[in-house]
């Protein structure tokens, strides 16, 4: 430690828990030299206490030069705590702020909750968003691999803690001494995401590096967690492989109508229109336009422009499907996705759907009960003799493309939520956007 008069002056940074110089600081880190405290101008905790903080809020928050009550009340214990090393825990820190709240004092700073990256999916909406900015993808280094949501969820970290993990110790209440063993098990989210700048000083465990994802997210002891993570990684890897294969088999495919490479078209048009009954490749916009052509007979436009095999509908897809299995899955998912969308003719019971039970869309009443609408209506008309002619049954497919297109415009807001055969356990249909278009 440096010599000189400054040794007797209390370090303001240390007092607020964010002195970067640590041991090398030329100013007094309170508690290190208790004997010299008296030489400082503001030695009495009561005098140095922040009046604004006492009234409820201090605009300077933890940067305030004056001591905030909670810090005063615990400063002595904290000093001891600090000297013992890394026993502090964020749970304790959380408790302290909870206690402060209960005492009606309120916390001095906004607790910016830092969750793990993997939790970002369920954050960012509503009231959380303001507090979650620390967790915004831009701030979290690297790593597209989602960390299992259920596994080892780390308690929220405050902004101050992010800046300096030591800070938590400064304000922790006596509970801080009871460093709970559970915290020992938490993996450091920073190390997991990239590199933790506190290295071995970090209060969290730095896990072993996973061979698959390259992140330090394997718990050294917790076998269960390791296994789970590896499984997740393998699953992710398989998905990535599947995606790469899909991209590989799609990237050279040209549309049989416009003759352009589908994946090289404008982003909005990079969609395949898969015909269920043949294996000819078209971009969605072209095959739909063809099927809407008015100048030809139905039979012509319902047929594949290449082989004239008739298909009843076009299934939109982000990628080309080669095998029968892939195609079946795609079509199944597509129909599944449509079947939860309300039919625009049935209108929850207020209208009548001409396609009856052949309709791909959902026929359900507002209370959720599904309606049995029976077979498609038949068109009737009176002929000259007054008899009723039953015209040909209305064919759903005659309308389907058009309906899909109408719907297309209504889902524009989902445009960016394009996913590739996203996890089937995900109930959010917005991920299936690509099916609809």
């Amino acid at each position: 430690m440096a010599e000189g008069w400054t040794q007797n002056v209390r370090c303001r940074y240390y007092a607020n828990g964010i002195c970067r110089k640590g041991e090398a600081c030329r100013y007094l880190h309170q508690g290190q030299a208790a004997s010299s405290v008296g030489t400082s101008l503001r030695t009495d905790p009561l005098e140095t206490r922040c009046r604004y903080y006492q009234r409820g809020s201090c605009a300077y928050g933890h940067r305030c030069n004056f001591v905030h009550a909670a810090e005063v009340s615990t400063s002595s214990t904290n000093n001891a705590n600090h000297s013992t090393g890394l026993a502090s825990s964020s749970t304790a820190r959380k408790n302290s702020s909870n206690n402060a709240n209960r005492n009606g004092q309120g916390t001095s700073w906004k607790t910016s909750v830092l969750k793990k990256q993997g939790d970002s999916a369920d954050s960012g909406i509503g009231e959380d968003s303001a507090e979650n900015w620390v967790n915004a993808p831009e701030f979290v280094p690297a790593g597209k691999y989602n960390i299992p949501k259920t596994a080892e969820r780390v308690p929220p970290k405050s902004y101050a803690e992010v800046l300096n993990p030591m800070a938590g110790k400064m304000i922790s209440l006596p509970q801080a001494h009871l460093s709970s063993p559970s915290n020992k098990k938490k993996l450091c989210p920073f190390q997991e995401a990239g590199e933790c700048k506190y290295g071995s000083q970090c209060v969290y465990i730095h896990g072993d590096t996973c061979d698959l994802c390259g992140h330090a997210c394997l718990h050294p002891q917790d076998k269960e967690q390791r296994k789970k993570h590896v499984n997740e990684c393998i699953k992710q890897h398989e998905q990535d492989m599947e995606l790469s294969f899909a991209v590989a088999r799609s990237k050279d495919k040209t549309c049989g109508v416009c003759f352009e490479v589908v994946m090289e078209k404008s982003p909005r048009e990079q969609r395949f229109g898969i015909l269920p009954n043949c294996n000819h490749c078209f971009c969605l916009s072209c095959i739909r336009k063809w099927r809407q052509a008015k100048q030809f007979e139905n039979k012509i436009i319902r047929a594949c422009p290449e082989c004239r095999v008739t298909s009843d509908f076009v299934c939109p897809s982000m990628y080309w499907v080669d095998t029968k299995e892939e195609k079946e899955k795609l079509i199944k998912d597509y129909k599944g996705a449509l079947s939860v969308k309300d039919c625009k003719y049935f209108r929850s019971g207020r209208g009548k759907c001409p396609f009856g039970n052949k309709c791909f869309y959902l026929h359900a009443y507002p209370d959720g009960t599904k309606a049995d609408v029976g077979p498609p209506l038949r068109q009737r008309r009176h002929n000259a003799d007054g008899d009723i002619d039953v015209l040909q049954q209305i064919i759903l497919w005659d309308f389907l493309d058009e309906r899909e297109n109408r719907w297309l415009y209504s889902i524009d807001e989902l445009e960016d939520l394009v996913a590739f055969l996203s996890d089937s356990d995900d109930s959010d249909w917005s991920d299936y956007d690509f099916f609809f278009d």
Binding site: G256, V257, C258, F259, E260, H280, C286, K289, W290, A293, Q295, F296, E297, I300, A303, C304, P305, E306, R308
Partner: protein, 199 residues
């Protein structure tokens, strides 16, 4: 012109130029204007047909709605064929009408026309006179078609008998082509042709 049509014709143009049919001189496409709306096609008369050895020029007009609508094609070169008008060159071919498919190309159209020359469809005629002759007097049809190929498409088979009959009519002041049409229509019966021309 709609972008898709021009883009596609450009691609097709390159495709036709590189295709093996062009290498074998069976088909050919040339640009008429710079914006790809009009082209000139050429097909060779298929072997073992009356059209063998001839080269038939086609006018191809690409609509803005191409490829969702077929190109408008007609023969510039005069031809004697049941499905092609001997007067206007209009073609009766299903794929150029209601059986068009968006995946068809200039190349497939030209090859289809070539196939049409080899296999006429007299039951779905464009030119009723030719179709009637085709059905009733196959040999006369073949000779006539071969003669037309010689005269208009640069075919190799000269028919001195037909030339003579035409000369007789042109000597009477009848225009060459008019005389040929009249004679062809009446199975090269000079008397009936003359009668028709002067009635």
């Amino acid at each position: 012109m709609a972008n898709i049509a021009a883009q596609r014709i450009k691609r097709e143009f390159k495709e036709v130029i590189k295709s093996e049919e062009v290498a074998k001189c069976a088909i050919k496409v040339e640009l008429v204007n710079d914006n790809y709306t009009e082209l000139k096609g050429e097909i060779a008369g298929p072997p073992e047909t009356p059209y063998e050895g001839g080269t038939f020029v086609l006018e191809i007009k690409v609509p803005e709605t191409y490829p969702f609508n077929p190109p408008k094609v007609r023969f510039i070169t005069k031809i004697w064929h049941p499905n092609i008008s001997s007067v206007t060159g209009a073609i009766c071919l299903d794929i150029l009408k209601d059986q068009w498919a968006a995946a068809m190309t200039l190349r497939t159209v030209l090859l289809s026309l070539q196939a049409l020359l080899a296999a006429a469809e007299p039951d779905d005629p464009q030119d009723a006179v030719v179709a009637k002759q085709f059905k009733e007097n196959q040999d006369m049809f073949r000779q006539t078609a071969r003669h037309w190929t010689f005269v208009y498409a640069g075919g190799p088979h000269k028919n001195s008998d037909f030339e003579l009959k035409i000369r007789r009519l042109t000597d009477m002041g009848i225009e060459d082509h008019q005389a040929r049409v009249a004679l062809s229509s009446y199975n090269w019966d000079l008397e009936r042709a003359t009668e028709q021309l002067f009635s």
